[in-house]
Symmetry: none
Subunit: 240 residues, 4 copies
């Protein structure tokens, strides 16, 4: 086999794998893990039943494959990007929250459901062993929030007495619960605004309000100063 052929072959394999993952993701999210048979997945992916098992070994591993891909291709890359490009603590939290919610609620909350069902519940049923491959990915993801918090405290943006663990729960718990209720009542419509509504009381509880200069506040103050100077200019002009 030439190198070219080899490459093309590998590409086909990967395409197939992706196809199966896509089909399974959609079906699991739509109908639930148990209500989705491997037969349906195979049919939706346009492959035979045997092929699904060729690629993933079992239905459980297929689910793990979905989550693995989600962490590697969606959750973690953008989280890292946010941490690297946004520096202001408030903005970081906001971007992170929007990213988290957008990622989980895409495709009619496909991944939200998946994570809820499988990681939240079936996981311990399946056995801890199976989760082990996911743990580091999740740890890495959560680590991004931890870093934002740590650095926020260092800069004095956040209270210095915040504990990281409760904070994670506050952040992710509120977002996921809120996202769920919002989806239930309004679908994806206005989700970003709702995230802001959720963040408001959270931020209020986190930031160090002995320092009266949140970014919004600083901006306001700058505007007020501009306004004052402008008024003075106007006065001067009129006085002339």
């Amino acid at each position: 086999m030439t190198d070219n052929a080899r490459r093309r072959s590998r590409e086909r394999l990967e395409e197939r794998e992706r196809g199966i993952l896509d089909a399974a993701t959609k079906l699991f999210a739509t109908a639930g893990f148990h209500a989705t048979s491997t037969r349906k997945i195979a049919a939706a992916a346009g492959v035979s039943e045997g092929t699904v098992f060729h690629y993933f070994g079992s239905k459980n591993e297929l689910m793990l494959g979905i989550l693995d891909r989600f962490y590697n291709e969606v959750l973690n890359p953008r989280a890292a990007e946010i941490l690297d490009t946004v520096m202001d603590t408030r903005s970081r939290l906001r971007e992170f929250a929007l990213h988290h919610v957008a990622a989980l609620s895409a495709d009619s909350a496909l991944m939200l459901r998946l994570l809820q069902v499988y990681v939240g519940v079936e996981l311990e049923v399946v056995g801890q062993d199976q989760l082990s491959s996911l743990r580091p990915l999740n740890r890495r993801y959560v680590g991004h929030l931890d870093r934002a918090v740590r650095e926020g405290i260092e800069r004095g943006d956040l209270r210095s007495n915040l504990q990281v663990r409760p904070l994670r729960d506050l952040f992710f718990g509120t977002l996921e619960y809120g996202m769920r209720t919002h989806l239930y009542h309004h679908g994806n419509e206005g989700m970003a605004d709702y995230v802001d509504a959720l963040l408001a009381p959270i931020w209020e509880g986190l930031h160090d309000n002995d320092r009266p200069n949140s970014d919004a506040e600083l901006l306001t103050e700058r505007l007020e100063k501009v306004s004052l100077r402008l008024e003075r200019s106007v006065d001067t002009l009129e006085g002339n």
Copy 2:
């Protein structure tokens, strides 16, 4: 049949029903809804399989029966009691939180799992109809929190600009997520303390800390004033 006999008969029925509910609750929570067969439930309850269906009609209704009982016998009574006996807002929230967590995490988080799995996930799969019987119970339960918040605002304990919906998400979302992670790492040990750790930043974000600045709404007001002044300045300039 004498009245005595009738009463004894009814008692036996209720005892049996309770037995089935108990068995099913434990099994559902331990192994998950799907992994628990009606056969196992019957065996655990010490009745025949047919009897399970005699009492509950279907596995789904059995699950609804469990949740129904949980709301009616655990969640709502104590929530009402707290609201009636504790008057201080902060204490109310704390008691409510402790009650919620204790109720859900009892018996190795039996009910937490049940609610997560079934209400959070299967629910939409099963169809809205089936949930309808649960909705009012849930509404009533959540209503207790709403009342605490409403009265807290009236008394000036809580910021007046809090919205009820995000607040629910903040409260229940944080508690349930936090309860889950805590259970995962430490089991029930030290749960009450952890609840306090979760409540701390929440409370910080909710209560009226009398500093009338830095609030988003206040900022907005200030910005609006700036805006007005700027407009006036511009008008004046243009008037020239």
Copy 3:
């Protein structure tokens, strides 16, 4: 117990029995024997499940009870009446046919279905023993047709060479099959006319149209004579 009380009691029993039979008849005919549970029958009759078994012992006997009643209260009385009051052979057949069809097709062909299903098919499954109670009733019913035919022949209204067994098949087979197809396409509408359409060719084949030739039996006789003569001829030839 007074005689009065005794009588009233017996009446109530009979009323209950009738109620169960009515309910079962309707349900069996509507949904089929197997698709109708004794529980549904009990509910429809407004009695408890146990009561059904008190009165009929088993589901099978209940079915036999229905048929028994149908023969005794509907089929046979009117058949006897027709034979007693209508004397003309053609009219007798017509009245009998109309009666048969009307009885079977009443209540959306309730009894037609019952007879088809149970007597036609399940019967041998159930075992001959169970049928034994029905046999004499059926025999009596069919006997009315036999009598009409016999007397018709005696009077010269019908061909003398008609055999009774095929005739029954012709009569009942055509009527029931025709009734079924007619019900299927048009419901009960115009059923009486259709019975006449069915009877026309039947009558044509039965009545004595005074042309003593061309009948199969006559042909046979003639052929037998030919045969005899041929044999005789051959014998004679061989004798030579």
Copy 4:
């Protein structure tokens, strides 16, 4: 896979399908549709229970498969053959009748029962949809009779005022009812003769008896003439 392997594979599949159909046919006919479990069918066919559903999807479809095969492989082919090879109207009806009865009463009236139970009764319960696949097959089959009748009328063999619908009922109704009673009393013994006994009065009602020359009659007359000539020859010989 080589073509050979492919062919062998397909053959095995078809053989298996046939095996399941055979087993199911026999069991349904013997014990009835409801009394035959899919487990029994699988066991009788020597396959696993899952395989039955792999091939037929459901017990209902299995039944439809049986009827489908019966129409396609037995009823229709021979009916078409009769219409194509036998031209005389009387003979056509007779052959058709014999064919119908023979087909239905083979294997202890296996198919008669099947058709009675399922098509006659369960059908409307099951719902019209399921029958739709059978309807055209039945229509085609009945069409053969219609054609024989139509052409019989054109040739003047049959009365010109016959209606096709009642005629079908007369024909099939009489045959099936008669077949049933005959089977009940005598089994298959003498069935063909009985069919003739049933056809006699039917034919009497159908044929155009203004033309005294049915084929049988013509044949008889020819035989009579032969006989006469033979007798005369014998006389002559003897006279010599």
